[in-house]
């Protein structure tokens, strides 16, 4: 029987929420890694029992956990993320140069084709790969060593590589995003990288259209049309029709084009979702109304989805990795809030209900469609 497993990373542990394909009754397990920050968990598309988790904390640093039984049991695997060669420096908040220093893993992206290959996006921004199921990690240093690397600088949350999107039709093509450097693409499996930020405009930069320095929050593609890339930037929702070579704005009638996550419907490549947030200094929904916005036209024309979501006095945030879709026939959408709620829609966003309401602040939400 088909179903879903929603993997939730929070400030104080991880949770797994499972249901059948009706997505009405939920079983909740956790907290796993209680007391630790779990920035991200993600299951392998190759083996639904293989799940990786990024566990970290201020006291004891970074751990990577792996489950081979769908999250019932976990084993710590490799946690050594050593930059390749002499790491050098990048720009610090005050404009001085600052040594590259590993802080944590923000995002784990399992390979689409090999259960033991997984990518990790880390702070300070770099990309690592493991080909042995997470036991050992090697940096894909062509990214950090890009000539622009020394000019990258952290956003308020740190200089993190937080988004990794693999082209399902060409595994050598990977999109990533760094705050606050921008989006980059490799076409050779991670050896070399190019910035893909043309068309972005960021008014907080001295040159708003510079090649790097943009605060890209999240990227999303649909597997059937991987050259079309959607972006939630610090401000602005953007779209590229040529694999990031050029972007154009599709914010349209959104009440605010600031936000963190962006997602694409599992079966409709032009149906996309964002959660507008009031501003970069007011990280909560406009007017106290938690609204997911859906565009069925690949951007520009947006409709508010409110059925089942709080429409007054709501001041939570939805973080960049905290929205995901399943691939059941009726596409499910899920998102988690900093208030500890995880909302689900089993009908493409038309109506919503909370699976749980009182978890620790949600950092990430991923979904496995179980077959």
């Amino acid at each position: 029987m088909s179903g879903v497993r929603v993997l939730v990373g929070t400030r104080k542990g991880a949770f797994a929420l499972t249901s059948d394909d009706k997505r009405e009754e939920w079983d909740i397990s956790g907290p796993h890694f209680a007391g630790w920050e779990v920035f991200h968990l993600k299951g392998s598309p190759v083996d639904q029992n293989r799940i990786y988790a990024s566990q970290s904390g201020g006291w004891f640093g970074q751990l990577i956990q792996r489950s081979d039984d769908g999250g019932k049991t976990w084993e710590p695997v490799g946690n050594e993320f050593t930059y390749d060669g002499i790491p050098g420096t990048h720009q610090w908040y005050d404009g001085t140069q600052h040594p590259w220093k590993f802080a944590r893993v923000w995002h784990l992206e399992p390979s689409l084709t090999d259960v033991d290959t997984i990518y990790a996006g880390v702070e300070d921004a770099a990309m690592f790969r493991s080909t042995d199921g997470g036991k050992s990690w090697q940096e894909l240093s062509g990214l950090r060593c890009h000539p622009s690397g020394a000019s990258w600088q952290p956003g308020a949350g740190g200089m993190c590589l937080h988004t990794i999107v693999i082209d399902p039709t060409n595994p050598k093509r990977i999109y990533i995003a760094i705050s606050a450097a921008g989006a980059f693409r490799t076409d050779d499996g991670g050896e070399t990288w190019q910035p893909i930020n043309q068309g972005l405009k960021s008014d907080f930069m001295p040159n708003p259209e510079a090649e790097v320095g943009h605060c890209v929050h999240n990227l999303a593609i649909h597997g059937s049309r991987p050259d079309v890339v959607f972006m939630q930037k610090h401000w602005d929702v953007m779209r590229s029709d040529n694999a990031g070579d050029m972007w154009h704005e599709v914010s349209g009638n959104l009440p605010s084009d600031f936000g963190f996550p962006i997602a694409v419907h599992a079966h409709e490549p032009d149906t996309i979702y964002v959660v507008p947030i009031k501003s970069d200094s007011e990280h909560f929904p406009p007017d106290g109304k938690l609204r997911v916005y859906r565009s069925r036209t690949g951007g520009n024309e947006w409709e508010a989805l409110t059925d089942g979501l709080p429409q007054n006095d709501c001041y939570v945030n939805v973080l960049r990795d905290a929205m995901a879709v399943d691939s059941l026939d009726s596409c499910g959408i899920y998102f988690g809030t900093t208030g500890g709620q995880v909302y689900a829609s089993a009908n493409g966003g038309d109506s919503w209900s909370a699976i749980v309401r009182d978890l620790p602040a949600v950092l990430s939400v991923e979904v496995q469609t179980l077959r």
Binding site: G35, G57, W59, F60, L63, N79, T82
Partner: protein, 98 residues
């Protein structure tokens, strides 16, 4: 045997009780104790000290015999009571909050 007391999160990670017993070869120092601890419990690597620099993580403290030994050199001999196993070497997560 050397007695080492771990903080709660590391006990959970290593799946052990409050205290573990270690066989340490040669002089008993912070470094030799941590080397033996990480050999016996490899999942603790990187959680107490940095993988590469071997520097103690900032919010980890080392206590023994009612003394804070956190700032002692890693190769300095530890008190005889620790070396003889009559007192434990305490690895502590620093109190941080408000």
């Amino acid at each position: 045997m050397i007695r080492v007391e771990l903080p709660a999160h590391l006990r959970t990670l290593a799946r052990v009780g409050r205290e573990v017993a270690l066989q340490v070869e040669g002089p008993v120092t912070q470094r030799s104790i941590l080397d033996a601890l990480e050999t016996q419990y490899p999942m603790l690597r990187g959680t107490i000290r940095d993988h590469v620099t071997q520097q103690r993580r900032p919010f980890v403290r080392f206590f023994a015999c009612e003394e804070d030994l956190s700032h002692e050199p890693a190769n300095a001999p530890l008190p005889d009571a620790v070396a003889h196993g009559t007192e434990p070497f305490l690895i502590v997560g620093a109190i941080a909050g408000g």
